[in-house]
Amino acid sequence: MVESPIREPLVTGKKSYAQVTDDVLRPIVTAPGKEWWIAFLISATVMMIGLACMTYTLFVGIGTWGLNKTVGWAFDITNFVFWVGIGHAGTLISAILLLFRQGWRQSINRAAEAMTIFAVICAAIFPGLHMGRPWLAFWVLPLPNTHGPLWVNFNSPLLWDVFAISTYFSVSLIFWYTGLIPDLGLVRDKVTNPIQKKIYNILSFGWTGSARAWHRFEITSLVLAGLATPLVLSVHTIVSFDFATSVIPGWHTTIFPPYFVAGAIFSGFGMVLTLMIITREVLNLKDYITDGHMDAMCKVVIATGSMVGLAYTTEFFIAWYSGSIYERFAFINRALGPYWWAYWAMFTCNVFSPQIMWIKSIRSNMKAVFVISLFVNVGMWFERYVIIVTSLHRDYLPSSWQMYYPTWTEWGIMIGVFGIFFTLFLLFTRLLPVIAIAEVKSIMKVTSDEAKEKLTQSHASGELNINVAHSPDNQKF
């Protein structure tokens, strides 16, 4: 491989392998500072509010929510789709970019994958609560039962969702954990506190780093990436089937699967940006999660944001072109009806705001990127709200038309789940290495300040530099 000398290195600051270890493990071996505790206490408090509202819902019933005969599901499904979507960026980074051999994924995949797992946990809370009796949740599984041999309905997209989400969660979890094993081995050898050592010893499964183990590790990662790639696409496709297979105008469209997948990746990258801008600042990891990484992620946001914009306009065109008066009404009502503010909040945040990032100076200004990433999060939440509530609130029978107003319980659960997410993420930053240390070390010889310097010198002297690590006899893998 000939490295272009113009390309930005992925690890800056001339690090040795030992320095990488020290830099990434610092949050684990040192006690958390004041800032972390403040952030932790705030998110834990918010989490408690959410748990209180959930408990209230479970004791009193779904009547505590603002749902009515016309709008039968609203905040719960909105939040469910929102959180599942957030998760998708993590899998995209850890699996799809691995298959595409994108070196820049190495330093963000661990945190992004952790985000996926926490987001799916958050997502699962909502359908669980909406069941009303979550202790009967096992009814969704195809188990022999006492109601006569009555099985679950395999023709229902809601059941497909059960399989999709549980597979997605468990596969993401083992993919993430397999990648963690070598780094946990390193943590085990680095920590000095005997209790910590014992815990990490159990978690690291006795990893020693033998060449055979690494060989198998790389093959396992590759196969898992190959499996996770269609999996992640299938999950949001199936989530979109929840709507697309119904006969509600505004839902009944074939564009939904790709539109939902693009939206999921878009929202997920919004969340990755939000988290990474803070994480790299607070944990002092700017040499690993460089401005180049941020730039690459911003470009993904522009691309997927444009796809989402294309989907919005296509939907509108088809609503008119189909000639169906109900479709046409649903869409005009979406943009100009009583929920116009939600529609235009969505459109502004998702379609217009990321386009500003075409300008390089805005893309490299982290404050601006942070604000845009928040806009993306808000916009994508509104997208789901718009699709769900505006399509339902005015259905075929005008006498049933109703507005939906969320209650404080619903707000409490929604905000509380953000608390759960950030509490889990904050714990993660202190207990596990936020960067895949081994993977970053494995690309340092190819892409670091030092490697770049060497290449630039040899380019100046006119010789063709072929990196040793990628010599032709190693091309087999």
């Binding site: 392998y17 030992a18 270890t21 195809p142 041999p149 009555l150 099985w151 679950v152 309905n153 395999f154 023709n155 997209p157 497909w160 399989f163 999709a164 597979t167 468990s170 596969v171 083992i174 993919f175 397999t178 094993i181 390193l186 085990r188 050898d189 010893n201 159990i202 690291s204 499964f205 006795g206 990893w207 020693t208 780093g209 033998s210 060449a211 055979r212 183990a213 690494w214 060989h215 198998r216 590790f217 790389e218 093959i219 396992t220 196969v223 898992l224 499996l227 269609p230 999996l231 299938s234 081994a438 993977e439 070390k441 494995s442 010889k445 040793v468 690590a469 990628h470 087999k476 893998f477």
Partner: protein, 177 residues
Amino acid sequence: MNTKEIYGIYDDDHVLLDAVKTIKKKGFNIKEAFTPFPVHGLDYALGIKYSRLPYVAFGFGALGTLTAILMQYYMFVMDWPVNIGGKPHFALPSFIPITFELTVLFASFSIVGAFLASNGLYPGKQAKLIDPRQTSDRFVLVIEAANSQEDIENVKSLLKNTGAITIKEQEEEVQHA
């Protein structure tokens, strides 16, 4: 005991890779190598055969496909067929999503299980390290030498010449996983 293990400890992956090639050429047996990260081309240089793990994933994936189709067929077609608007009971297209998910589930869990089993990794296992820094920034080569002073000295000088920063000898019976 007629063989003895000699450990050469290196501090750079490229030096290690060259060392492996030199040592192999001299005809010595490299029993194992320990590195803090996957060194590209090391498996090839050591002559490690390409792992059969993907076959495990494929086999179990196929089993997952079969399980899903048979399960749905049994429950929906044989055991309790429900008449839904006169549509066919064996509605293969709507069985596909669950079939796909179970295929991925079976394949993923099997390959991770096989990965852990083939490396003998399990929760709580004690790692036997040759160098305390081998998971951070040290690269270890384990070479088997005949238990004679001459052979041991040969290996040691070879390790030294190929750039090892520390050379250790096996002290007692050590088992390598």
